[in-house]
């Protein structure tokens, strides 16, 4: 763990440069460029509002906000994982020729998605304003779910980045896993649509606790209960410790398999 903090700090400029490089490349040659990071959630909201308020007819007021408050952090999580899983393999040329701390690649993938995430808060706030949904004081609580989700994401990221070096199947399996997880987490629905006796299935999922802080504070104007906060923090650090120790164990051999 100390190694993780030390190496991340020592390579902070490199990580930042790599993260910016990834964003630059992602938006390169598109006319709107960085604007896409802002436009994406706006357009997504448009689609979702049409689908869910006219076709599916969910009886949730301000459904767009209900949904986006969790969907945006979820997107950060799933995109980070998808990018990071490939991060070691796609930087193979570099790793074969330069001695560099391997952790910079998955960390940079998370950082670049974090920038995207933070940018999408701007259009989201705009939507909240337009729909006249109240801005609760609990927005101030947001840094806590943000930090715990990031730590959890980093942990998962280290594991998948390392695993994908050895078996390229991992990147494919990950996509399916993310799909499954998407429906196993209360994102498009609220947990209370299910009868009490079935909820335990969802309550086993750490992402429930990691994500519910976002919805509670933005949509309901509440802070999550203590046990939920504790579970999310424990899950985050457990994931990071496990993910990084696996990554660390195998990192010196990556070069032989890429």
């Amino acid at each position: 763990m100390i190694e993780l903090v030390r190496d991340t700090y020592a390579n902070r400029e490199l990580i930042w440069a790599l993260a910016l490089k990834e964003l630059k490349i992602r938006y390169k040659r598109s006319v709107l460029g960085f604007l896409w990071a802002l436009l994406n959630p706006l357009l997504l909201m448009l689609v979702l509002t049409v689908v869910f308020s006219t076709i599916m007819r969910f009886s949730i007021p301000h459904y767009a906000i209900f949904l986006l408050s969790v969907l945006i952090p979820w997107t950060f999580f799933s995109q980070s994982l998808s990018y990071a899983a490939e991060s070691i393999v796609s930087n193979a040329d570099l790793i074969r020729k330069v001695r560099v701390a391997k952790l910079v690649f998955p960390v940079a993938a998370v950082v670049s998605n974090m920038i995207n995430f933070l940018l999408s808060v701007i259009p989201f706030a705009l939507i909240v304003l337009i729909t006249r949904h109240p801005f609760y004081w609990t927005w101030l609580y947001l840094p806590i779910p943000l930090v715990t989700l990031t730590i959890f994401t980093l942990g998962a990221t280290f594991f998948f980045a390392a695993a994908n070096v050895y078996y390229r199947d991992v990147a494919h399996i990950l996509q399916i896993l993310l799909q499954l997880l998407f429906y196993m987490t209360p994102i498009i629905f609220a947990l209370d649509v299910f009868p009490q006796k079935h909820r335990w299935v969802f309550e086993l999922n750490p992402l429930l606790y990691l994500l519910e802080g976002f919805r509670l504070s933005v949509y309901y104007g509440r802070v999550p209960p203590m046990h939920s906060i504790v579970v999310s923090i424990v899950a985050a650090f457990a994931a990071l410790a496990a993910g990084f120790s696996i990554f660390r164990k195998y990192q010196n051999k990556f070069v032989l398999y890429i």
């Binding site: 400029e13 440069a17 020729k97 001695r99 560099v100």
Partner: protein, 260 residues
């Protein structure tokens, strides 16, 4: 000037040949069912020892597959050593191939920064050196164009100036001077010369006999993963040319490994 800066002691390096390894789960299962995996081991280096003293310019020669690049990768730390020990005293550019970190979509200027950061220099330092790097590479307004539009000569020029401008104590280079026109080659050699005068150490791989005889203090000739000769450059070149190198026993071997 007699300080030893690079010590390579009895280094043996083995690799598993990648194609022999299951790359997918399906293959893994197939092999598991057959109860056998054939792992082919390749010994890239066998008991290699040599030292490089401060201020020396040493050329590493050998035919393709002799283990030259493996040796450099071990010294800079891209690979970890299977057997033996390598010690390095002093700062060293951690890349063996120029322009390794360059991304084709980024501009020359952006690549200078990333290249420098990859080598462990700070952003501040790279911004300070940026102008002289650009000037040495002589790219003019191309510096703000994506690197993918560069000719290979321009690419190498930029890479060479990034690698040498940052001023490490030990410069490790893998087949550098192959690209670039005569004028730029002369510029590079002049720069290497200045490196030497500053008491810095240069270890590089080359196939050019002239470079070895005209510039190196010493040459090391690798043959099939072993040191075949270490010493006078002219002699090394003669040996290399004549290929009058004693043939060591085959370093390939095949050994079936059982998976329980």
């Amino acid at each position: 000037m007699d300080r030893v800066v690079i010590t390579v002691e009895n280094v043996t390096q083995r690799f598993r040949v990648l194609q022999e390894r299951p790359d997918t789960v399906r293959e893994l299962f197939a092999r598991f069912l057959r109860h056998e995996v054939k792992v082919r081991k390749f010994q890239a280096l066998t008991d290699v020892s040599f030292t490089v003293r401060q201020g020396e310019m040493v050329g590493l020669m050998g035919r393709n597959g002799a283990g030259k690049s493996t040796m450099l990768k071990l010294i800079v730390g891209v690979y970890s050593v299977t057997e033996g020990r390598i010690t390095v005293n002093g700062s060293m550019s951690p890349l063996i191939e120029l322009g390794a970190g360059f991304h084709p979509e980024l501009t020359g200027r952006e690549n200078i920064l990333i290249g420098g950061l990859l080598m462990g220099y700070s952003k501040k330092e790279m911004l300070r050196r940026q102008d002289s790097i650009i000037e040495f590479a002589g790219l003019g307004h191309f510096i703000d164009a994506p690197v993918k539009q560069y000719s290979s000569g321009m690419y190498m020029r930029l890479a060479f100036s990034v690698a040498t401008e940052v001023n490490p104590d030990i410069l490790i280079l893998d087949e550098v001077l192959a690209v670039g026109d005569i004028a730029f080659q002369a510029k590079c050699l002049e720069r290497l010369q200045r490196f030497r005068e500053a008491g810095k150490t240069i270890l590089f791989v080359t196939h050019s006999p002239e470079l070895i005889t005209d510039y190196c203090d010493r040459a090391i000739l690798l043959h099939k993963g072993q040191v075949a000769f270490d010493g006078d450059p002219v002699k090394a070149v003669d040996l290399y040319r004549a290929s009058a190198v004693p043939q060591p026993p085959s370093v390939f071997r095949r050994e079936p490994v059982r998976i329980p």
